[in-house]
Symmetry: C2
Subunit: 199 residues, 2 copies
C-alpha cells in the first residue's frame, strides 16, 4: 500500500480496519491508555505511524473509534416495535463475557479521560454522541408510536439513567454489568421513568 | 496533648476534627490524592503523623472521613413528610458553589480509586455505605407512609439513579450539578421510577 493510497480513507478495507481496531483494544487491555503508543500500534499491525496519524489523527481518536467499533451492531437499526423490546435488544447485544470485558475497558478509559482532555473530547465526539443519537432515534420511534409522551422530561435523561446503571453496578455493587442486571434495571428504572408500563 | 491522650478518640474535640478535615480537603484540592502525604497533613495541621495514623488508620480513611464530614447534615434527619420533599431537601443541602467544588473533588477521588484499592474500600465503607443507609431510611419512611410500594424494584436502584445523575451531568453534559438540575432529575427520573406522582 503506497503512502498516496493510504491518504484516502476508502483504500483501507473494512477487514483491515477491523483488524487494526482489534489490535488497539488488545494493546489497551495489556498496557492501558497512558502507556499505549502509536509505535506499538504500528508494530503490532505492521502499519506505518504516518498512516495511523493520517487516518485517525491521533491516539485518542484511534482508541475512541476502536471502542465504538467493538459495539456490535447499531442500536437504531433494531426496531422491535416497542420501546421495551428495543431497550432489551440493547441489553442483549453483548453476552456477559463481552460486557464484562468492555465495561472494564470503558471504566479504565473513563478514568484516563481525567488526565487526557483530548481523550475526553474524542470519547464524546466519536463514542458518546453517536450512541446518544441512536438512543434518540429509538426514543423518537416510541414517541411516534404514542408509547412515550413527547413532553416527558425523562426523555432528556436516558443517558444519565443508563450511565448510572453501568457506573453504580461497577463502583458500588462491584459487579460486572450482566444482561440480567441491565434488563432488570431497564424494567425497574428506565421504562417507569418514561411512563411505559412494564407488563 | 500527650501521645496517650490522643490515643483515645474522644480526646480530639469536634472543632479540632473539623479543622483537620478542612485542611485535608484544602490539600486535596491543591495537590490531588496521589500527591497528598500524611507529612503534609501533619505539617498543615500541626499534628504528629503518629497521631494521624492512630486516629484514622491511613490516608485513604482520613480522606474518606473528610469527604463525609463535608456533607452538610444527615439526610435521614430531614423528615418533610413526603419523599419528594425529602429528596428535594437533599438536593438543596448544598448551594451550587459547594456542589460544584465537592463534585469536582468527588470526581477526582473516584478516578483515584482506580489505582488505589484502599481508597476504593475506604470510600465504600466510610462514605457510600453510610449515605446508602440514610437513603434507605428515607425510602423506608416513604414505604411506611404508603407512598412507595414495598415491592417496587426501583427501591434497589436509588443510588444507581442518583450516581447516574451526578456522573452524566459532569461527564456527558460537562456541567457542574446544580440544585436546579438535581430537582429536575429527581422529578423526571427518580420519583416516576418509584411510582410517586410529581404533581
Amino acid at each position: 500500500m503506497t503512502e498516496v493510497a493510504t491518504a484516502r480513507r476508502s483504500r483501507i478495507t473494512p477487514e483491515r480496519e477491523a483488524e487494526l481496531y482489534e489490535a488497539v483494544l488488545d494493546l489497551l487491555r495489556e498496557v492501558g491508555y497512558d502507556a499505549l503508543t502509536m509505535d506499538a500500534v504500528a508494530a503490532r499491525t505492521r502499519s506505518s505511524k504516518a498512516t495511523l496519524y493520517r487516518q485517525w489523527g491521533g491516539k485518542a481518536e484511534l482508541v475512541a473509534k476502536a471502542m465504538r467499533h467493538s459495539k456490535p451492531g447499531h442500536l437504531a437499526d433494531v426496531d422491535t416495535g416497542s420501546l421495551r423490546g428495543d431497550l432489551h435488544a440493547f441489553a442483549l447485544r453483548e453476552d456477559d463475557c463481552q460486557m464484562e470485558q468492555n465495561s472494564a475497558l470503558m471504566r479504565a478509559l473513563a478514568m484516563a479521560t481525567h488526565a487526557n482532555p483530548d481523550l475526553l473530547r474524542a470519547f464524546k465526539e466519536l463514542l458518546i454522541e453517536p450512541e446518544m443519537n441512536e438512543f434518540r432515534v429509538v426514543l423518537q420511534r416510541a414517541v411516534d408510536r404514542g408509547e412515550v409522551r413527547a413532553d416527558n422530561p425523562a426523555l432528556e435523561y436516558l443517558m444519565h439513567m443508563m450511565l448510572g446503571g453501568f457506573a453504580a453496578r461497577t463502583l458500588i455493587d462491584e459487579l460486572p454489568p450482566t444482561r440480567e442486571f441491565l434488563i432488570s434495571y431497564i424494567d425497574a428504572v428506565v421504562l417507569p421513568a418514561l411512563g411505559v408500563p412494564v407488563v
